[in-house]
């Protein structure tokens, strides 16, 4: 990263957080293709709350907006931060209804390239008590393909993803698929078969997504898994201590690499077999990846190239 980029980030109040650092969102760190570096604006403590994503069609119906408001408020009162994509329609309704309880906007472009442009004011309102994050550099104008890429962060941050309205083949369904691949819960709001905006959500329910008509449906699924599946966060490094404090010992690195082969293995198994911490294993895998020696296969599987 150039000094100029760091300076530009400071000017708009964005800070960079790397994988392995204390402020890096814990669940996001566990996805296969976790971004090595994210830029954060706003109240980063919101990222330590349990999070639920609420997404849906840009072209939302009045009913869809109303349901989004009801679910968002309920989840906010229950202590969840709401993650969404700052888009028109359902996303915007989800952010607006969680401004005071915890809201997280995940951007497809750089922090200084807000999309859609008419949501600059909404983003300001979000930043007053919530947070925005992006893996893209400042100045990055979001293109079409950046949105699905961004969607993996929306699901990756969250315990589960709620799809409120979605047509067939919509971006929200991509988020649902990514959520499943990441082992996140998928919730969908049912709708009339005559409503094209319910085609996607009804389809998800047919495929096994949890149908949601009230927040109890969501909380009943999330409560048992909250706090269970994550290893306790390791002690934070002392202030000023560099991130490289989690540098693996040479024999640790050798042991982890020795467990790898061209046959894909689960990262969880690497952690278990190496007896290193998940954080150390991720660091070694990241080193290998940067060196072009690691392939990630999805589903938590990695192999040597």
């Amino acid at each position: 990263m150039s000094a100029r980029e760091i300076e530009a980030a400071r000017e708009i109040g964005a800070a960079f957080v790397a994988v392995g650092e204390a402020d890096y969102p814990l669940r996001l760190q566990m996805i296969d293709d976790a971004p090595p570096l994210i830029a954060i604006r706003g109240h980063r403590e919101v990222l330590a709350m349990p999070m639920v994503a609420i997404v849906g069609s840009r072209n939302a119906s009045a009913a869809g907006v109303k349901i989004t408001q009801q679910l968002t408020r309920g989840l906010g009162e229950a202590g969840f931060a709401i993650v969404s994509g700052l888009a028109r329609g359902i996303d915007a309704a989800a952010h607006r209804a969680s401004l005071t309880t915890g809201t997280v906007a995940v951007l497809a472009g750089g922090h200084d390239r807000v999309y859609p442009p008419e949501h600059v004011e909404l983003l300001d309102a979000i930043l007053a008590a919530g947070v925005a994050l992006s893996e893209m550099p400042l100045g990055w104008e979001p293109r079409g393909r950046d949105f699905p890429r961004r969607n993996r962060l929306i699901s990756g941050l969250s315990l589960g993803v709620v799809i409120v309205e979605a047509a067939k083949r919509s971006g929200s369904l991509i988020t649902a698929r990514l959520a499943l691949e990441q082992g996140r819960e998928v919730f969908a709001v049912p709708g009339s078969p005559l409503d094209p905006r319910a085609e996607g959500t009804n389809g998800l329910i047919k495929q096994g997504a949890t149908p949601v008509t009230e927040i109890a449906d969501i909380v009943a699924v999330l409560q048992p898994i909250m706090g269970l599946e994550l290893p306790a966060r390791e002690p934070e490094p002392e202030a000023g201590e560099p991130v490289q404090a989690v540098e693996p010992a040479p024999d640790e690195r050798t042991r982890i690499i020795g467990l790898l082969s061209p046959t894909p293995v689960l990262i969880d198994d690497l952690v278990r077999l190496s007896q290193s911490s998940p954080r150390i294993v991720r660091t070694v895998l990241l080193e290998l990846e940067i060196a072009g020696r690691l392939q990630r296969h999805g589903g938590g599987l990695v192999s040597l190239i």
Copy 2:
């Protein structure tokens, strides 16, 4: 049955069919509390078609009626007869859309006591190519409690029951519960959480009913079980041969009664262990029931009293 009742039935074209007779609907015969005698008007051959029940709220929405028409027509084209309860709303829409492909009206009162009265003409249209049946005697004015009782026949006749719109605590949900108890498939059409007429159907989906937005959802579930679960119908008695031709032999009766005790057992197990035909076993159970010596527990379980 009095001679007068038989005469009155003949006058309105109703005929009586007893359990065990060739024209008695095969699936209905398999439910725990199959009516010993049903009165049939119209084209009884429709009762030999594979059947699907479509039921829902009397106070149906325009969307609910439209979905009912779509599903009914599709199922009719696929070769299913449609069973319903002649009620206002969804039931009436289901009958109207299956007049030419096969429709079955199950009445809560006697054949000469049509409810609701404004559906006398609809019933005439049904009888032109379809069929109506009732377990109640002629002259029986249906009371409130007769409707849930009747609903077990709607589900009992059918491979599965489709609930189109249903408020909380509605009669259609009783039919769904009875269908589950009888081992029938339960299908529900999803709707918006803001629509009170979808509360019941969304609730069913949460409990595991198959969500339905198009007939493929129904056919995919029913096709594999059609014709599989039923034993082939035994050869019909010669014309004129009395129904008593299925009279169990004395040692058969003794064997079956010997297998019974105050501990509930599955009727299926009785058939297997006695090596008698299901029809003979049912006849013996019916004799015991009439004699007040048998208790039925639901789920196909019976015991001696």
